[in-house]
Symmetry: C3
Subunit: 131 residues, 3 copies
Amino acid sequence: MKIIRFRTSKREEIIDITGNIDNLIKDNKWLSGIILVYSPHTTAGITVNENADPSVKEDLSNFLKKLVPQNHCFSHAEANSDSHIKGTLCGFSQSFIIEDSKLQLGTWQGIYFLEFDGPRSREIWVKFTPG
Amino acid sequence: MKIIRFRTSKREEIIDITGNIDNLIKDNKWLSGIILVYSPHTTAGITVNENADPSVKEDLSNFLKKLVPQNHCFSHAEANSDSHIKGTLCGFSQSFIIEDSKLQLGTWQGIYFLEFDGPRSREIWVKFTPG
Amino acid sequence: MKIIRFRTSKREEIIDITGNIDNLIKDNKWLSGIILVYSPHTTAGITVNENADPSVKEDLSNFLKKLVPQNHCFSHAEANSDSHIKGTLCGFSQSFIIEDSKLQLGTWQGIYFLEFDGPRSREIWVKFTPG
C-alpha cells in the first residue's frame, strides 16, 4: 500500500487529489486493475465530483454544513459528531479502474479528499489489485 | 474494462441494471473475484436496493428530491448542483462479489443506476479482479 | 467468499464487526490485497466510524432517525422505506486494505454493521482479492 501525506488548512475543505493518484499509478507502473483510495480517518471522506466549475465544491460544502450542523444537539463531547456523520454519508473510500496504465475517470470527474474536522495532518492509503 | 451504454429518459430515474451486469459476467466467463460497477458521470450514481416492490424506488427518488431540492440556493450556474450532491451521498460506484461464475446478491437486492440530471446518454464501466 | 452470521436485537442498531473481520483474515491467511465487506440485505448498511467514544454511534443513529423518519409519507407498504433509504445513503459495502496479513485501519477506525430494520438474522459476505 502507498501513502499520500498532506496537511489541510481549514475545518471544512475539499481537496483535489486526482494528480496525486495519477502520479502513484505512473510511479508504481500499475497496468490494469482496481485501486482503492482509502482515508484512515473518521472525520474525513473521499468522493468524486466535477473538476471544472469550483462552485460545485462550494455548493457541496455548504449543503453538507446545513444538512449536518455542527451545533446540532449531539452527545459526543469533541464537537465533531457532524464530521463523523458526514464521513459516513459521503464515504471513507472510493475504488477506481486502471486500464492501459491510466486512471479511468469520466471527462468531468476528479477525486476529492473531504476534510470535515481540520486543520489536521492527513493521509490517504492507496492499494492496487491487478485484473 | 467493459462498457454498458444506454439512454435515460427523465431528469430523475432509477434504472435496474442487474441483468446487464449478469450478462457481462456470463459473456466474459468471470469465475471468482470482485467487480467494480462504476459510473463515469458526476450527476448520477450507483446503488443497491429492493428489486421486488417498485414503490421502494419511488420512495427513494421522492425522498432524495426533498432532501436536496433542485431550487436550493446554489452557486453553480447549471441548475444541477442537487444532482452532484445526490451523487456524492449515494455513491458513484459499488463493488460486488462473483463466486462460481455468479453475481452474489442478496435475495431482495438489485443493482440500480441513479439518474439525477437526465435525460442523457450514459455509460457504466465494469472491471473484474480475480480472487 | 466467507460468511459471518449473527442476529440483531433492535430495529436500529450499530454493531462493531471489526473483530469478526480480523479473525477471518487470520483464519484464511490472507496476506496482501483488498477485501470487500458486503451486506446482502436492503435494509442495513456497512460503515466505518470511531471505535473509542460510544456516543459517536449514538449520535449517528439519532441523526439518521431524524434525517429519514420512519413515519415520513412513503408509498412502500412495509413501513421500512426509511431503512432502504438509510442503506443507500450509508452504503451496503466497504472495501479495506490488507497488508502484511493485517487489516489496515486508521487508529480510531472500527467497522460497523448498521441495522435499520431489525431485529433480524443477518449475514455479512467477505471476499478477498490479492494484490
